[in-house]
């Protein structure tokens, strides 16, 4: 393992020709402990690192809840056009009409896809979108002088939902999941009341199942004056088929990097967004983008707004990519979701005889199976063994309510052939578990092998340190 800091000092083209700065000693840096590495060595170093990494480009990567679909390269080219990549965010609106148009047009399209009345693209990611949604709810009820202290969240939800609620000082009320994988409606009825601000639902939920009681949940929530929030992380199942606003949601967030194919980049940047019904529009962050007489302008006047969420206007480069992607699909967008659902159900059917199936229903764009019949820790063992076969593991041990869970989201861009191979590999691993269990338990058989995460957390080594001179 060689770090960039371990290279010997080399000649570089980036030399210091400028004279020193004229600053008082108490403000000046005495030494800069960086080294000089030659460009060729740098290219080799990072190329080598890239080869130690699985991506969608190299391997099938069915991480559940992450929507690892193919990232069209043309989107990258568009985002790098000088007219997009070089624009300074302080450029006056008059000279940034194209940038404002991109934001405005994507907002319009997301309104159409979700049925919402207004969108903000300022949130930098899904979790920041949720934060915005909860802040809006908080302000909305504060202005109505209603004291509401609770947010209802099913136990299958992403961890971000309760974490966000807690950040905004709401109490989380967790509702268990029923036998069909829906939020338990009876428990929900017990929990709902006039102290509930928001009912936060992921649909389809993280079990990959369409929430069957939505209309009843919505009616009960509305009777109690609570807002309906949709975590739209799983929108890849519903594009063009279903509009969440029609189901009674007042707010929804979409993850541009999931549904709209922008690259996940090893963990980010993502792109968030929040759509709301008209009665919440005034709470959206400023500045908003307005179109008047064919001209686009910034509007920061709104006094009801919760404020500002991003240094500028959101992850613009991601917004460009998402718009490019949607324009390539246009009115055919529902094909994405139909095939995503087909792929998930097909792979689910190939595997359901071999694993435990916690909820035996037709799934949406992803599904959850359990390896509990192979004993404790078999999910992690299977996941590690998958790597040896040149595939990426699914999401594992999530949702928390399914023991030994494997959460698989193939997405629409994977072929039948790939799905058949993945099923074959999983079946082979199960056979190995019975015949050669050590082979699976010691996987992956790569270098490094299975890494000791407990040691990592106990003996912290989080940075390189220069040797004392």
């Amino acid at each position: 393992m060689k770090l960039i800091f371990n290279y010997n000092q080399a000649n570089t083209k980036y030399t210091s020709q400028e004279k020193d700065v004229d600053l008082p000693d108490d403000l000046k840096r005495k030494s800069l402990p960086l080294c000089n590495v030659n460009e060729v060595q740098i290219i080799r170093h990072y190329t080598e690192l890239s080869r130690k990494n699985y991506g969608i480009d190299t391997n099938f990567y069915p991480l559940g809840s992450c929507t690892m679909k193919y990232n069209p390269r043309v989107n990258e080219d568009i985002a790098k056009l000088p007219g997009f990549a070089n624009i300074h965010p302080h450029t006056p609106a008059s000279h940034a009409q194209g940038a404002l148009e991109v934001i405005w047009e994507l907002e319009e399209i997301l309104k159409e896809i979700t049925g919402m009345d207004a969108f903000s693209l300022q949130p930098a990611a899904g979790s920041q979108s949720e934060l915005l949604g909860v802040m809006i709810a908080k302000k909305y009820f504060a202005e109505k002088n209603e004291e509401r202290t609770k947010i209802i969240i099913p136990d299958s939800a992403h961890g971000t939902n309760p974490a966000t609620a807690a950040m905004c000082k709401f109490q989380t009320v967790t509702i268990p999941t029923d036998k069909r994988g829906n939020m338990d409606i009876d428990e929900f009825k017990k929990a709902i009341g006039r102290d509930v601000a928001v009912v936060m639902i992921t649909n389809p939920n993280t079990l990959g199942l369409y929430e069957e009681n939505l209309s009843e949940i919505k009616n009960i929530a509305k009777e109690n004056g609570a807002l309906m929030y949709c975590d739209g992380a799983n929108m890849n199942a519903l594009l063009g088929i279903s509009k969440p606003a029609d189901q009674g949601f007042d707010m929804i967030h979409l993850n541009l990097h999931k549904t709209f194919s922008t690259p996940h980049g090893g963990g980010g940047p993502g792109g968030g967004s929040l759509g709301v019904k008209s009665f919440l529009e005034d709470y959206l962050p400023v500045p908003r983008i307005k179109k008047e007489n064919g001209k686009f302008t910034f509007d920061s006047k709104n006094k009801k707004s919760v404020g500002k969420l991003h240094s500028f206007y959101g992850n613009f480069g991601i917004i460009v990519r998402a718009l490019t992607y949607i324009k390539s699909w246009g009115v055919d967008i529902q094909k994405i979701s139909q095939i995503a659902v087909l792929n998930a159900n097909y792979l689910f059917c190939l595997l359901k005889e071999d694993f435990d199936v916690p909820y035996d229903r037709r799934c949406a764009h992803e599904f959850v199976i359990s390896a509990k019949k192979f004993g404790e820790k078999s999910t992690i063992n299977i996941a590690k063994r998958i790597t040896d076969y040149g595939f990426h593991a699914p999401t594992i041990y999530f949702p928390l309510i399914v023991k030994e869970a494997l959460m698989i989201e193939p997405t629409e861009t994977e072929s039948k052939e790939t799905l058949d191979e993945y099923a074959k590999v999983l079946k082979t691993i199960i056979k190995e578990l019975k015949e050669e269990p050590e082979l699976v338990k010691n996987a992956p058989h790569t270098t490094p092998g299975r890494l000791d995460e407990v040691k990592a957390a106990r003996q912290l080594n989080l940075r390189w340190m220069p040797k004392e001179p």
Binding site: Y14, R29, K52, T58, I109, E112, G317, K327, K384, A456
Partner: protein
């Protein structure tokens, strides 16, 4: 354009395995939309490129004498080539470390670079942007001190202040105008929004005397190459925007928030952190660590709700810092400093009064002898974005190594007419 590999035969075969006769039947459980889907016809790749290019051309790409949180530094060619590699670009959060050693090592190097530059002990693997990094630092301070007051020194980027205010409103913290026993943190930016380089010594002492944390926010990250580190001054938390390290201006995002802390705050950090460990055979490798802080395990008791970060931009910054190295980064910082000072000197001769009372880095505030609105419009005619109009004929101007002496002369001749 279509990224679906299925033939019609595949689809019907798969449908029969699933037990459905049509794709519509497959999704029949989903409540159908109640209104028509008003979207355009799909565009071919060729039409798409031409459509999006024509929109991009409605933006004017200029010569920038403007900063305010986004800086026009040169981006070396190598960066785009390496960052575009699909193995980096199309991977995700390294939940399976054995399949993600590349990204994990990059993040470890990034954390190391941020520590080296800031003089701090520990860095995380990035946050969304400078503004949200600052807000997260305030939340961290409140969680650590169990206090709710946030004190903000003059000169904080007004956009950051707005974002901080939004987070405070949502999380029940308050921005106060005194430092006392209710203060969770004292926030000071240096170089500040107006370019002032400040010695935070006294403010740090005052914060610590009141058992509050001191947060140092930084404007242009290249300043770290020549300025005494916040770590040396005694800051507890350092946050800022890493866009200067090879990231395109891109109308404000995606950018790169960073946060670094002193060791005692390690377990309170938000976001992902990468560490080194070993496998059974003793081979070293990288993993995400201290995950017990995070939302997917801790849920409502997490230190933050953050999930995605800005890994690809942390990669960009890491390659940038590796490429420039010690002498390159010093050169960028010195050149940015000198160009700003040359421009300021020349403007002074033309009646533009310098308002900064501290030494400044690459950004400075002047009072113009004539309408700043007209000055900005005149410069725009010459394809120059001349600064940020702060009202009252005050203009905030910024330089980088990209502003040549000829551009400076053009700036001067334009504002002199």
């Amino acid at each position: 354009m279509n990224f679906i590999p299925h033939t019609k035969e595949h689809i019907s075969k798969m449908l029969s395995v699933v037990g459905c006769s049509t794709l519509d039947e497959l999704v029949s459980e989903f409540k159908p939309r109640l209104s028509e889907l008003k979207l355009d016809e799909p565009l071919s790749e060729m039409d798409l490129v031409s459509y999006m290019t024509s929109i991009s051309e409605k933006n004017s790409s200029m010569k920038y004498f403007t900063g305010g949180g986004s800086y026009d530094h040169y981006i070396p060619s190598v960066i785009n080539h390496l960052v575009s590699r699909g193995e980096f670009l199309t991977s995700y959060t390294p939940y399976q470390p054995e399949a993600s050693q590349g990204v994990l090592q990059v993040l470890y190097e990034f954390q190391s670079f941020i520590c080296l530059l800031t003089g701090m002990d520990v860095s995380n693997a990035s946050l969304y942007d400078g503004a949200s990094a600052l807000a997260e630092a305030a939340l961290l301070s409140s969680a650590h001190t169990k206090r709710k007051g946030i004190f903000v020194d003059d000169g904080l980027n007004p956009n950051y202040l707005k974002v901080l205010q939004t987070y405070c409103d949502g999380t029940e913290l308050s921005i106060t105008n005194s430092i006392d026993e209710n203060t969770a943190c004292v926030i000071s930016q240096t170089p500040d929004f107006f370019g002032n380089i400040k010695n935070p010594q006294r403010l740090i002492e005052k914060a610590h005397k009141n058992k509050a944390l001191f947060i140092n926010c930084i404007s242009d990250a290249t300043s770290l190459a020549i300025l005494k580190t916040p770590g040396e001054f005694g800051a507890d938390i350092v946050v800022g925007e890493g866009q200067s390290f090879g990231i395109p201006k891109s109308f404000g995002g995606p950018y790169l928030g960073y946060i670094a802390v002193k060791e005692f705050l390690t377990k309170k950090l938000p976001g992902r952190i990468v560490g080194i460990t070993t496998d059974e055979k003793g081979n070293e490798g990288f993993v995400l660590t201290l995950q017990a802080r995070e939302q997917f395990i801790r849920r409502e008791r997490a230190t933050s709700n953050i999930t995605t970060n800005q890994t690809l931009l942390a990669l960009t910054a890491t390659i940038y810092l590796a490429l420039l190295g010690k002498s390159g980064l010093q050169n960028v910082a010195r050149a940015s400093y000198h160009r700003a000072h040359i421009l300021q000197e020349k403007l002074k001769k033309r009646g533009f009064e310098l308002i900064n009372t501290n030494p400044f880095y690459n950004e400075f505030l002047v009072k113009s002898p004539k309408s700043t609105e007209k000055i900005i419009a005149d410069l725009m005619e010459c394809n120059i974005l001349g600064g940020i109009d702060l009202g009252d004929n005050k203009l905030l101007i910024s330089c980088t190594e990209k502003n040549s002496l000829q551009d400076i002369d053009l700036y001067i001749s334009t504002v002199s007419t």
